[in-house]
């Protein structure tokens, strides 16, 4: 085999495997989020994409929070330091509720530790 046809084979198989792996992961992620739901009923229902009035208000609040997050993210970009992604900001409004329990727990540890 010439080096170029080797390279072509590598490309074909390589991209194939990469796509296969990520499609598999996507399926597993989908499965996992369905399987392991938070027991506490989440206030945000997951299947409705047509927001109710109530829902919409929350949506807007969240949007506003994200706007702030983006603004902050932009500021950060000036001194882009990818090694310390400001996760708390990215997490933003949406996960705030979900993670409260966990963070409270962590907070306690920090106070103690």
């Amino acid at each position: 085999m010439s080096i170029l046809s080797q390279a072509l084979w590598i490309t074909a198989l390589g991209m194939g495997l990469v796509f296969a792996a990520l499609i598999l992961l996507a399926g597993l992620m989908s499965l996992m989020t369905r399987m392991f739901r938070e027991r506490v009923p989440s206030p945000v229902s997951t299947d409705s994409t047509h927001p109710s009035p109530d829902r919409e208000r929350g949506e807007k609040a969240r949007a506003a929070a994200i706007a702030v997050a983006v603004a902050l993210a932009e500021q950060e970009q000036v001194t882009a330091r990818p090694i310390t992604p400001p996760q708390p900001i990215i997490v933003g409004a949406w996960q705030l509720g979900m993670r409260t329990r966990q963070m409270t727990q962590k907070g306690e540890m920090k106070r103690r530790g």
């Binding site: 080096i3 170029l4 080797q6 390279a7 072509l8 590598i10 490309t11 198989l13 390589g14 991209m15 495997l17 990469v18 796509f19 296969a20 792996a21 990520l22 499609i23 598999l24 992961l25 996507a26 399926g27 992620m29 989908s30 996992m32 989020t33 399987m35 392991f36 739901r37 938070e38 989440s42 945000v44 997951t46 409705s48 994409t49 969240r62 949007a63 994200i66 706007a67 997050a69 983006v70 993210a73 950060e76 970009q77 001194t79 882009a80 330091r81 990818p82 090694i83 310390t84 992604p85 996760q87 990215i90 997490v91 933003g92 949406w94 996960q95 979900m98 966990q102 962590k106 530790g113």
Partner: protein, 380 residues
């Protein structure tokens, strides 16, 4: 021993040629980019300083050099990139991706630059191992590039690491023109529904374990990289090992980053990087840098095209801009996409989708690196 002999022993040090002097300038330029332009300073500054040391007799190849001790301890064993990944994993939140699993596909599309560049490099006459190492710059992920290059073509570590980290910093400069060129204004204005699935703590904890198992079985060569990244993420999400998670995000990553950079820089000797008295000017260095840039561009293009494809398939529910985050370059690429969407329409918030695609790109890069190692090693 008589005096003349003694004096010649003392002053007859290692030769210092114009090539060494030029390398000192290159090291200085890297430090300049780090300090004045803040291009990935935590890596380019140590690389630049290591480059200076390498050309003052303290290279990773010099016997009795302390840089060699560090190189052997952390690069040859591959520990440093893995330690960095433990820290990176402890800093990444995969929830945006877990909440929107279909974004994972973008993380695959953004890796085409790796293979496209490998093809071109092979066509240009590089042997397969070098071509693959050059291609892996297209992972746009430092530790992956270093890990793969250490196994396939360690003599190219210097230019490849420099390219990987410099281009990572250049995301806000390189990507926007391509993004504007390949997408219409209308596409950039597409708003994305914001209805993520809730991600339970069980999912967040199970995710790194599942990914480690699946990827290690599919692509064993990627196993150490993915294991390190996911170990860090597990420490983060477990919520019960705060001490270890903090150690990963601080002590471990800081120390590993410093010495990783120094050791990489210490491979940039004049003869490997610039001019080898035996074989003349090392044009390959320039070609590595050029091909690496190309890999970056191709990654961005294929990512965007796949984004457009997803927009088409979903009937306009996906903003193609997030395709550009599939390249990795976490988290700059994600932020940039969100910012560009905002510029077209100040009410268009796609940050969560962009970060999902960006973390998918991080996974995709590691997987692609492992796959590359496997298929190329199998071919050689």
């Amino acid at each position: 021993m008589n005096l003349p002999e003694w004096l010649s022993t003392i002053f007859g040090g290692p030769t210092f040629t114009w090539a060494h002097a030029l390398m000192l300038l290159i090291g200085g330029a890297l430090i300049y980019l780090a300090v004045a332009k803040e291009y990935e300073p935590v890596l380019l500054l140590p690389i630049g300083f290591g480059c200076i040391l390498a050309n003052l007799g303290m290279s990773a190849y010099a016997e009795e050099s302390f840089m060699r001790v560090i190189y052997k301890a952390g690069i040859e064993t591959e520990l440093f990139p893995l330690l960095v990944f433990i820290g990176v994993g402890a800093m990444i939140d995969f929830r945006p991706l877990l909440a929107q699993p279909s974004l994972a596909l973008l993380g695959a599309a953004g890796q085409f630059g790796i293979f496209g560049t490998l093809l071109l490099a092979a066509a240009l006459g590089f042997p397969l191992n070098e071509a693959a190492s050059i291609g892996v710059i297209g992972a746009i992920d430092g530790p992956t590039a270093i890990f793969v290059t250490t196994k396939l073509a360690p003599h190219l570590l210097g230019p490849i690491a420099v390219a990987a980290y410099s281009y990572m910093s250049l995301v806000p400069i390189i990507q926007p023109p391509i993004m504007r060129l390949l997408t219409t204004r209308r596409e950039r204005q597409i708003r994305m529904d914001y209805a993520p699935r809730p991600v339970s703590r069980v999912t967040a904890v199970a995710f790194p374990i599942v990914v480690t198992v699946i990827i290690s079985l599919i692509a064993p060569s990627a196993a150490p990289l993915i294991a390190a990244l996911m170990l860090g993420n597990l420490l983060r999400e477990a919520g019960v090992v705060d001490r270890l998670s903090k150690a990963a995000q601080n002590e471990i990553i800081n120390i590993a980053t410093l010495f990783l950079g120094l050791a990489i820089g210490a491979t940039m000797t004049a003869d490997k990087f610039l001019y080898d008295p035996a074989s003349g000017i090392q044009w390959q260095t320039l070609m590595v840098l050029g091909l690496g840039l190309l890999a970056f561009v191709v990654d961005t293009i294929t990512g965007l095209l796949f984004g457009k494809f997803m927009a088409l398939v979903t009937g306009g529910k996906v903003n193609p801009l997030i395709g550009a985050c599939g390249i990795s370059a976490f988290p700059m690429a994600g932020r940039l996409s969100a910012k560009m969407a905002l510029e077209e329409d100040p009410d268009n918030f796609i940050l969560m989708h962009a970060m999902g695609a960006n973390t998918a790109g991080q996974l995709g890069s590691v997987i692609a690196g492992g796959v590359l190692l496997a298929v190329v090693a199998g071919m050689m």
